[in-house]
């Protein structure tokens, strides 16, 4: 589990580099995090079996497994039961950190696009806008032709989260659907679990009303 957290943290850390010289450098960690995470998840189910817990030795599989038991602990900080951290659009899950091309294609024709090439490198971060939905991608560090999802933004009231919250809704609407936030201030409320987060930002002038919603990776 430690490994997983570190990877997610690294990924997140490097992802913030996205806004660097326009591009980013992102991350070996991003893809290793997803693979490690996958490994750990697949074995988590068996983590109570003696083999998995004890054989933290030879086998990489077993190693992954030994990381797994802590999993259940970390997910306890998720607030309400059924919050989803992957935004679903057109029946397609948009998973932050995962390859982007197929997802972008499934979203249909975008209204606007902005390209931000990485400094010095060939990869490019992309900002696609589909109505009120903005999807941001970044290039994988090792394979700059591979784009990964960086962030999903809900910009206006035409799009709502999987739980039905949209821009313009109030703080009370949010709490009713999502429960107590993991973290909140006067300007935002955040729900997080397993290195992912959904963040609700409130209007400065009208701090009861949501002005933007962001699905992202969090920095641990």
């Amino acid at each position: 589990m430690n490994k997983k957290i570190v990877c997610a943290a690294l990924a997140a850390m490097m992802l913030t580099g996205l806004t660097a010289c326009g591009g980013d450098d992102s991350s070996s960690a991003a893809d290793s995090s997803s693979s490690v995470a996958a490994g750990a998840d697949s074995s988590a189910a068996d983590s109570t079996a003696p083999a998995a817990s004890a054989a933290d030795s030879t086998a990489p599989a077993a190693t992954a497994a030994s990381d797994a038991p802590a999993d259940s602990e970390s997910s306890t900080d998720a607030a309400a039961g059924a919050i989803t951290y992957d935004y679903v659009a057109n029946g397609m899950k948009i998973v932050v950190g995962e390859p982007a091309d197929e997802i972008i294609a499934s979203l249909g024709t975008y209204d606007k696009v902005f390209e931000a090439p990485s400094c010095a490198y060939t990869g490019t971060s992309m900002y696609y806008t589909f109505g009120g939905l903005q999807v941001v991608t970044y290039p994988d560090e090792h394979d700059q032709t591979l784009n990964r999802i960086y962030e999903v933004d809900l910009l206006d009231s035409t799009v709502a989260t999987n739980e039905g919250i949209k821009v313009g809704d109030t703080y009370d609407d949010l709490i009713a659907k999502y429960g107590t936030p993991t973290q909140e201030t006067s300007v935002f409320a955040m729900y997080k679990a397993d290195g992912k987060a959904v963040e609700f930002f409130f209007d400065e002038k009208n701090p009861d009303v949501i002005k933007e919603i962001v699905y992202t990776i969090i920095i641990v």
Binding site: C21, G22, D25, A116, Q183, V187, E212
Partner: protein
């Protein structure tokens, strides 16, 4: 074998192994000539005359937005840029330390975008920002401050430990530039002559925390006191790049800091200043608002040169023969590069001259 002979043979073996390893290391190190030319920016400084009035330090918003050639041509100001891709604030600080070992400029200009990074970011950019530095305590400190978790200090001392796996990617550049790179820059400036209008530039996604990290403030403090100690005027700027997004909340913090310590701070995103400079984001940027092209950079330099002369009375040094000769050489390469890029643009549709 006698004892002496054994020692001699042993020494010979160790030395030849060392030489061989050094040669292989040089071969395997990236040459940054065809791709990712930015990797040579930092080392390029040591080829200059090291007699500068103005030193720019910062990231790509420095080395792509200011044209030292223009500053020289128009105001007789000798300037250089020590910047590299995603140069973090501590890297800028240690480069300032490093530069002060060779010369003492009158004005140091620091671009504040890197205040947003409080942690080491990317190994690749670290390498490009640090490896070009000559060895000194500043470089050692810079490495220590910059290393990401996966990096090791030893691999900066012996880059072969980092680049050994490049054996399968060796190409003609690695042989051609074995003994050193050719100059690609113009006193630290990376020149682009193409244009791409800025459209659909996204506004920043709101952040949960806008405060800069203590690490960054510390290095800004250090930078300030190092300048004060050396009687150098520090000028803080935010370059006119539209992206990455520069938040008002960030701007306020820098403004407060500058006010507190009586430092000048120019935010070139300010609409009044932009109007004075006359930047046109349809023609003066080569990548849709991220960086200026040479036309934009010259406009910006024109404005900034005047500011420097007005404020700090920088003298016109165009009469100094040795300096003038050096700058004439740079200017010649500068013009040639613009011509080359324009020809390529016409022929191939891109400045690099790659067939599409």
């Amino acid at each position: 074998m006698g004892k002496k002979k054994v020692i001699l043979a042993g020494a010979a073996m160790v030395v030849s192994a060392g030489v061989l390893l050094a040669a292989v290391q040089r071969l395997l190190q990236p040459k940054y000539m065809t791709d990712v030319v930015e990797g040579n920016l930092i080392a390029d400084y040591y080829n200059t005359g090291m007699d500068h009035d103005v030193l720019f330090i910062g990231d790509c918003e420095c080395y792509e937005n200011f044209s030292p050639v223009e500053l020289w041509e128009k105001y007789g100001i000798s300037s250089t840029i020590r910047g590299s891709a995603q140069q973090l604030i501590w890297q800028s600080y240690y480069l300032l330390e490093d530069t002060l070992r060779y010369e003492k400029p009158d004005v140091v200009v620091f671009n504040v975008l890197s205040m947003k990074y409080g942690e080491p970011q990317s190994e690749a950019y670290n390498r490009m920002s640090i490896e070009g530095m000559r060895w000194s305590k500043s470089k050692v400190d810079c490495i220590k401050a910059s290393m990401t978790e996966e990096e090791s200090f030893l691999s900066y001392v012996f880059p072969i430990l980092r680049y050994h796996s490049r054996w399968s990617e060796i190409n003609s550049d690695d042989f051609k530039y074995f003994f050193g790179a050719e100059p690609n820059f113009f006193s630290g400036y990376y020149l682009r002559a193409d244009a791409k209008p800025a459209e659909n530039v996204p506004t920043g996604t709101p952040l949960t925390d806008y405060s800069f990290s203590d690490t960054c403030w510390n290095y800004l403090d250090k930078m300030m006191s190092l300048c004060a100690k050396n009687d150098i005027q520090l000028v803080l700027i935010k370059a006119p790049s539209l992206y990455p997004y520069w938040y008002d909340e960030w701007d306020r913090q820098i403004r407060d800091y500058a006010e507190k310590y009586h430092l000048p701070y120019i935010n070139f995103l300010d609409e009044d200043i932009q109007a004075q400079i006359g930047i046109d984001y349809n023609t003066d940027t080569y990548d849709a608002g991220l960086h200026l092209n040479v036309y934009g950079a010259e406009k910006l330099s024109d404005w900034f040169g005047e500011y420097l002369v007005d404020r700090y009375g920088l003298a016109d040094r165009s009469g100094e023969k040795k300096l003038a000769e050096e700058w004439a050489g740079i200017k010649e390469r500068y013009d040639a590069e613009i011509r080359r890029q324009l020809e390529n643009l016409e022929k191939y549709g891109n400045v690099k001259g790659e067939a599409q």
